[in-house]
């Protein structure tokens, strides 16, 4: 046991030595490998950094590109982009659906065919698989045809492009298919129905007109306009019919107030006794010819057209009389068998492109405010001129009563 006991320390020391050698070797190896790892890592980090730099460079240039694209496309936010994509998909779906429809749209319109033809041609060039048939007639005929065809169960028209005063009856009778066009967002509230049943397409502002050869300075107030010096020299649209003239005056009453209106109309019939004419266009023509010095209630587009042709006339508005404006609106008839084609036409007419074509037709005022066309209203009238939509509710509902009242007051009949 003693021998074994004596051997033990030796063994232990040998073992310790071996262990220590191994440990030392191992430790050296570890240190060495740690050193090599450390070198490699720093190399790799460097590589990653370069890559990261590269990536961030790419990302920022991508960002620049995206913002450039967005800027070029006029997109401000991701939500907007999403909306646009959604709309584009909807449009594509609509175009696909329209392809499966009859390929023929019938429009009843009170805007003259010659004035709307180039817009429709552009639409058909864009969608060659849709043929647009435009029936041009006056508002009463549009009303009679659409309402009679519907009650006879023979719907023919897919859309109407009709004066608002007429079309509003269709809306009241629930003849329209509600459709909020993505383009409608660019239109002010008074030019579109909140349910999307109709949207304005062409503006029809009403003004007064004078002959510049005969009158140096037009009357600046309603009081001056009713001065006896104008007796026999004034022509006005017939306000005893319940149409444009009547609705204009009733709407004006609600703008300038009852008492001022009463004194204006009183003085007008007593002092001036205006000649009445059945056609709004004739009023402007007869001032251009010099037969009358002043014309009341004329289409601004007639004045601009005659002026372009060299006629000695100019429009005017007495103080406190805003530019009362009505319009022709576009709407889809609810019985249409081609709703998708019809929606494409609505979109196109309301689009900047469609409105620009309308606004370059002599002389038609586009309804979309941001249209840069030859006859955009902001190029015709001074900036800041007050514009008010007419006819108002009373003018629509009570036009006939007022027409009779004007007749009793002595307007017209002799």
């Amino acid at each position: 046991m003693a021998a074994s006991t004596a051997k033990t320390p030796l063994l232990l020391s040998v073992a310790a030595l071996v262990v220590s050698i191994i440990v030392a070797g191992y430790a050296t190896a570890i240190t060495q490998s740690a050193q090599s790892i450390q070198g490699e890592t720093s190399r790799q980090v460097k590589d990653v950094r370069t890559a990261l730099d590269d990536i961030s460079g790419r990302i920022s240039s991508l960002e620049r590109l995206v913002s450039l694209y967005a800027k070029a496309a006029g997109i401000d936010s991701p939500q907007q982009a999403e909306l646009i994509v959604k709309q584009r998909e909807e449009l594509q779906a609509r175009v696909d659906a329209a392809r499966r429809e009859s390929g023929r749209l019938v429009v009843y319109g009170s805007v003259d065919y010659a004035d709307i033809k180039s817009t429709l041609d552009a639409f058909q060039a864009r969608y060659p698989f849709i043929q647009v048939v435009y029936e041009s007639m006056r508002p009463p005929e549009v009303y009679t045809r659409v309402s009679s065809e519907l009650s006879a169960n023979k719907p023919t028209a897919d859309l109407v492009l009709v004066s608002h005063t007429t079309g509003i009856r269709f809306a009241q009778e629930k003849r329209y298919l509600p459709y909020v066009s993505p383009e409608a967002a660019s239109y002010p509230d008074f030019l579109r129905d909140k349910n999307g049943e109709w949207t304005a397409a062409v503006l029809l502002p009403i003004a007064f007109v004078y002959n510049t050869d005969k009158v140096k300075q037009p009357p600046s107030t309603l009081e001056a306009l009713t001065d006896p010096q104008w007796a026999g020299k004034v022509i006005m649209h017939d306000i005893t019919l319940g149409t444009t003239g009547t609705q204009y005056l009733v709407s004006l009453k609600n703008i300038i107030g009852e008492s001022r209106f009463n004194s204006f109309v009183d003085r007008l019939v007593k002092n001036v006794k205006p000649t009445l004419d059945i056609s709004v266009s004739t009023v402007a023509e007869k001032v251009a010819s010099g037969e009358f010095h002043i014309g009341l209630i004329v289409n601004l587009h007639d004045v601009v057209r005659l002026k372009m042709q060299g006629a000695p006339i100019e429009y005017f508005l007495p103080t406190d009389v805003p530019l009362l404006t009505t319009f022709s609106h576009i709407a889809i008839i609810s019985t249409t068998k081609n709703p998708n084609s019809a929606k494409l036409l609505v979109d196109f007419i309301l689009s900047k492109e469609g409105q620009t074509i309308i606004g370059n037709t002599p002389v038609r005022f586009p309804a979309r405010p941001d249209t840069a066309a030859r006859f955009s209203l902001d190029k015709i009238v001074p900036a800041g001129l007050r514009m008010v939509n007419y006819p108002d509710d009373e003018a629509i509902a009570k036009a006939r009563d007022w027409a009779a009242r004007f007749k009793e007051m002595g307007f017209g009949a002799k």
Binding site: V133, R138, S147, S151, L241, A288, L306
Partner: protein, 565 residues
């Protein structure tokens, strides 16, 4: 001629009467229904008398009726007095400028009547009418010479507008004449005036009366002149009242408008009954017997200068200044007498020809007008024949029924036809057939008027002798009646053809894109204020018509057969 008894072909004729009667009465029935229905036909509503009550309550009704009567009676008197005198001079006498008198009234009616009325405003407006401008400049007087914008002014303009119709309706009667009667008059020592008054005038009286009634009805239902001249003058007549309710307002007041139309219809039916009563004594006027040849030229003798002045006066008052003014207006940018020379342009013609649908419209117009003319002349001839020559039971009633559409203003009639073809579906809606239907309805009564005067003048014995010689009824018609009526029938056909082409307004409810006609093009231009383009279009019509007449003349076709010996 004994009254014809029931025979198979009579049954056929009655069948035709019933079918035709249905088509004729249908639009009027819709309109009458509209006047007692609380909403437009085809829509839910109830029977009501309120429309008529409203008409009776109208404080202006008396005034309107008075104006209507003065306007219609006055203008027809002017038209008939001048028209028949000119017709007599042009067809029977040795007056100078014969051809000019025959063709100028025809040329003026190629103008839509709205354009003609506008031409008068260019001539006679108090401050800018050329006549008044010239008068005021030359004399220094501040007041105009003529004021167009009065009841008298509009009556005069309408009278002159109607003159071509009066002329064309009375002229054939003067040519179908038994010369021996005049010779007898002359032989018994009558002067020209006496012969005219005692012999000629009484003999053509049926034609004159029928033309007068026609003019009266046309004037009662005329719209353009009352609107263009009357409304600025503050003079309302029945049609301007009806039109403004039916056509200007939205939704249209069908109820009161059709009630007013019913008043018009009643007035016209009274006139037509009067006329029929008058025509019953037809045999008294039959003058074209088998015994004599045609008529001879009457020498005017000492009255020739007077007649020449009359004819020249007419030419210088109506066709020449009117056509010249319209020609000038058609090359103006806008009308202003101070700027006539600086204002010249061809834009109006360019606009007319470049209007998007002019091409299709032109072809459709020819088709529609030719078929309407053929239908109207055929039906009108048969109606006149069976009511005046072979008095078939019901023939008279049929002719009266045929006259009903005449008493309805064109745009109102268009609404009636519109409702008919829409609710009674026989496949006409949206086709040119609807237009042919409307135009035939409107112009068949005119053909009857055109033919009945001359038809009454053909003596029974001509037909009877044909029957004695073994000719059947058809042979009698084709060999005796038709050749004798060729002049009147061709005048009627020409008139209907031109009127259907220029009739603005009746088409607008009935056309579709495929069936669009020239008149709707002009109507659209008129409504958008391009009135001078409409003038240019009207002149193009006139020139085309002139070429057509010249060609026809070369081919031996005469609008009127003036006596040439």
């Amino acid at each position: 001629m004994p009254r014809t008894t029931w025979q198979p072909h009579n049954l056929l004729i009655f069948f035709v009467f019933v079918v035709a009667g249905f088509f004729i009465l249908q639009p009027a029935a819709f309109l009458l229904f509209g006047s007692v229905w609380s909403s437009p036909p085809g829509r839910p509503g109830h029977l009501t008398g309120s429309n008529y009550a409203e008409v009776l309550r109208d404080p202006f009704l008396g005034r309107v009726l008075f104006n209507t009567f003065v306007f219609a009676a006055g203008s027809s008197l002017i038209a008939i007095a001048l028209g028949s005198t000119l017709a007599f001079l042009a067809t029977r006498t040795d007056v100078p400028f014969k051809k000019a008198i025959i063709y100028s009234p025809i040329l003026t009616f190629a103008m839509p009547s709205s354009v003609e009325s506008m031409g008068w405003t260019f001539l006679l407006s108090p401050r800018t009418g050329l006549v008044n401008v010239a008068f005021m400049r030359l004399t220094g007087v501040e007041e105009p010479l003529v004021n167009l914008y009065t009841l008298a002014g509009m009556t005069l303009v309408m009278g002159i507008n109607l003159l071509p119709v009066a002329f064309l309706m009375t002229a054939p009667a003067f040519t179908l004449f038994d010369r021996s009667l005049e010779e007898m008059g002359r032989a018994s020592g009558g002067g020209l005036l006496q012969v005219y008054r005692r012999i000629i005038l009484p003999l053509v009286l049926p034609s004159i009366a029928s033309a007068f009634i026609y003019c009266f009805i046309v004037a009662i239902e005329a719209f353009d002149t009352p609107a263009i001249v009357g409304i600025p003058a503050g003079v309302y007549v029945l049609t301007t009242t009806i039109y403004t309710q039916m056509v200007s307002e939205v939704p249209p007041r069908y109820g009161t408008a059709t009630a007013y139309s019913a008043v018009l219809l009643a007035l016209s039916l009274i006139l037509i009954t009067l006329y029929n009563r008058f025509a019953k004594s037809a045999d008294r006027y039959a003058t074209l017997t088998g015994r004599s040849g045609g008529s001879a030229v009457i020498s005017l003798g000492k009255y020739k200068p007077l007649a020449a002045v009359l004819v020249l006066g007419y030419l210088l008052i109506h066709p020449i200044p009117l056509m010249a003014t319209l020609a000038v207006a058609s090359v103006q940018r806008f009308w202003n007498p101070d700027r006539l020379l600086t204002n010249i342009t061809l834009d109006n013609y360019e606009k007319f020809f470049s209007y998007p649908v002019t091409g299709t419209a032109f072809i459709n117009s020819i088709i529609v007008s030719a078929s309407s003319t053929a239908l109207a002349v055929a039906v009108g001839f048969l109606a006149a024949y069976f009511s005046l020559r072979r008095k078939l039971t019901g023939g008279q009633t049929f002719t009266t029924i045929l006259s009903i559409p005449l008493a309805i203003p064109p745009l109102v009639l268009a609404v009636g036809v519109f409702w008919s073809v829409l609710y009674v579906d026989i496949g006409l809606y949206g086709t040119v057939g609807a237009l042919v239907y409307a135009y035939s309805l409107r112009y068949t009564p005119l053909v009857v008027r055109f033919l009945s005067g001359p038809m009454l003048q053909i003596h029974r014995e001509l037909e009877d002798s044909a029957v004695v010689c073994g000719g059947g009824r058809l042979r009698t018609i084709t060999n005796i009646i038709l050749p004798l009526l060729r002049g009147a029938a061709s005048t009627a056909a020409l008139y209907v053809f031109v009127r259907t082409i220029t009739d603005l307004g009746i088409a607008v409810l009935l056309v579709t894109h495929q069936s669009t006609v020239l008149s709707t093009t002009l109507f659209a231009l008129w409504n958008t204020g391009e009135k001078l383009t409409v003038v240019a279009g009207g002149l193009v019509y006139t020139v085309v018509l002139l070429c057509f007449l010249l060609a026809a003349h070369r081919l031996g076709f005469r609008v009127l057969q003036p006596t040439t010996r």
